[in-house]
């Protein structure tokens, strides 16, 4: 099982390395969005900065993850079906999307620091929160990408399905991020929020592994 997951993951990463245009495409998307933010608000206040950062992450996530299932044609899915199980396939996709999204989030954070002023009181803590948040985003959207691909629809359907579903986690992450801007939390609230987000992530992983096999077969 582990070997299959590793092989599928390796295949996705190799594809990404060989078809770098899609990676750079998303990167350009991020960079131009952030540049647009810089042009429209020169130095946004801390809470605007925070909200903009996460909303941009949301759009990046939809764009980056939509292709993870849409790029697999019907014939190729049939081939995967004959060599791997549904669980291995979805786990490989989840891991791959986490890696992709972590990379994107950290790059956009770097661009935010570069182009906009840095209002963070505690940047290291914020990097940790960014990792947590981008993992949450990528997990939820992986299953939604599978649903949208199965419905033979484009990324627009994924956005319609995903935006209301991601709101709870996004609100939790935005709330949690405020700690990095120097807001004082009540005792235990920080840990409680973090555990809640991790709990959500675990639930989404379990649901994806249970539900994906039903989407897989035709």
């Amino acid at each position: 099982m582990l070997k299959t997951i590793f092989a599928l993951l390796k295949k996705d990463l190799l594809l990404e390395l060989r078809q770098q245009h899609s990676f750079y495409g998303i990167l350009l998307y991020v960079a131009s969005t952030i540049f647009l933010v810089k042009l429209s608000l020169d130095s946004p206040a801390a809470d605007v900065w925070n909200a903009l950062f996460w909303i941009i992450q949301l759009f990046v996530c939809v764009n980056a993850i939509a292709k993870s299932f849409l790029q697999e044609g019907r014939g190729r899915m049939l081939y995967f079906y004959s060599i791997a199980g549904a669980k291995e396939f979805i786990i490989a996709k989840l891991i791959y999307n986490i890696i992709l999204m972590l990379l994107m989030s950290l790059l956009s954070l770097a661009l935010f620091f570069l182009l906009l002023k840095n209002p963070l009181a505690n940047p290291l803590q914020f990097i940790g929160i960014v990792c947590l948040g981008s993992i949450s985003l990528s997990l939820v959207f992986t299953l939604l990408a599978a649903i949208a691909a199965k419905a033979q629809q484009n990324a627009a359907l994924m956005a319609i399905l995903g935006f209301p579903l991601i709101v709870p986690q996004l609100l939790l992450v935005i709330r949690l991020s405020k700690v990095a801007f120097g807001e004082i939390f009540r005792d235990g609230a920080l840990l409680q929020l973090t555990l809640l987000i991790i709990g959500f992530d675990i639930m989404v992983i379990i649901l994806s592994v249970i539900l994906f096999p039903f989407l897989w077969k035709d």
Partner: protein
């Protein structure tokens, strides 16, 4: 008669809710005054919405275990009635809020949560319409329905407890996010719980009616299996 006892019960309970609900003596709590009677209409909407969406979830799970188109029709009908109850809950809540909080919309976390919940289930209907193939539509929407329910429940059960709210049962207050069970007055409890059951039964009744229509519409498809 054997099959329709619960419909009669629903009618009796709702007639009781409407008469007793408007006539009993209610406790005078703060600025609620007589609007407290809305408790018999607003809160049961959320109870029945949760129950109906729960039934929809059960049929989605049953569809995935045993792909019979009938289960998909059940899941769709119960989800639609659940949405209807949610809209009614939002409307009754807004009317109540106009008189107690001063405005119909005050960005209360629970108001936001229910709007998100409605969006989630509207997306379910959009997804259903987006897939032309019937079997594929049933499968894909069942998967989405299950996924959505498990995100929806934490959304309304956990999040409202973490933040301050104008509703009872917010941060630092006992009770569940909907109402504070412990300080519900004894005379109100006598009307409240029958009202919950009555509205939930009415919701189920509406759903069974639309299921019958869908079953007739899709008779050929179901028999063909």
């Amino acid at each position: 008669m054997r099959k329709s006892w619960w419909k009669i019960l629903a009618v009796i309970l709702l007639v009781y809710t409407f008469t007793a609900g408007f006539l009993i003596k209610v406790p005078n709590v703060g600025n609620l005054k007589e609007t407290i009677r809305n408790l018999f209409f607003h809160v049961p909407m959320w109870f029945s919405q949760l129950i109906l969406l729960g039934i929809s979830l059960v049929y989605s799970i049953r569809y995935l275990r045993n792909p019979n188109l009938k289960y998909d029709i059940y899941a769709e009908a119960f989800a639609k009635t659940g949405i209807l109850m949610g809209v009614l809950g939002l409307v009754t809540g807004s009317i109540w809020a106009t008189y107690t909080w001063g405005e119909p919309w005050s960005n209360d976390p629970k108001q936001i949560a229910v709007v998100i919940a409605l969006l989630i289930y509207f997306a379910y209907l959009v997804l259903r319409n987006a897939v032309p193939d019937i079997d594929k539509r049933a499968k894909v929407s069942a998967v989405y329905n299950i996924f959505a329910y498990f995100i929806y429940v934490p959304l309304i059960m956990i999040l409202p407890r973490l933040v301050e709210s104008l509703h009872p049962g917010g941060k630092g207050v006992e009770g569940n996010p909907g109402l504070n069970g412990a300080d519900l007055d004894a005379t109100m409890r006598v009307v409240f719980w029958p009202a919950v059951i009555g509205w939930a039964l009415l919701g189920t009744w509406i759903s069974t009616l639309s299921i019958r229509i869908y079953l007739i519409r899709d008779k050929n498809l179901i028999n063909a299996e």
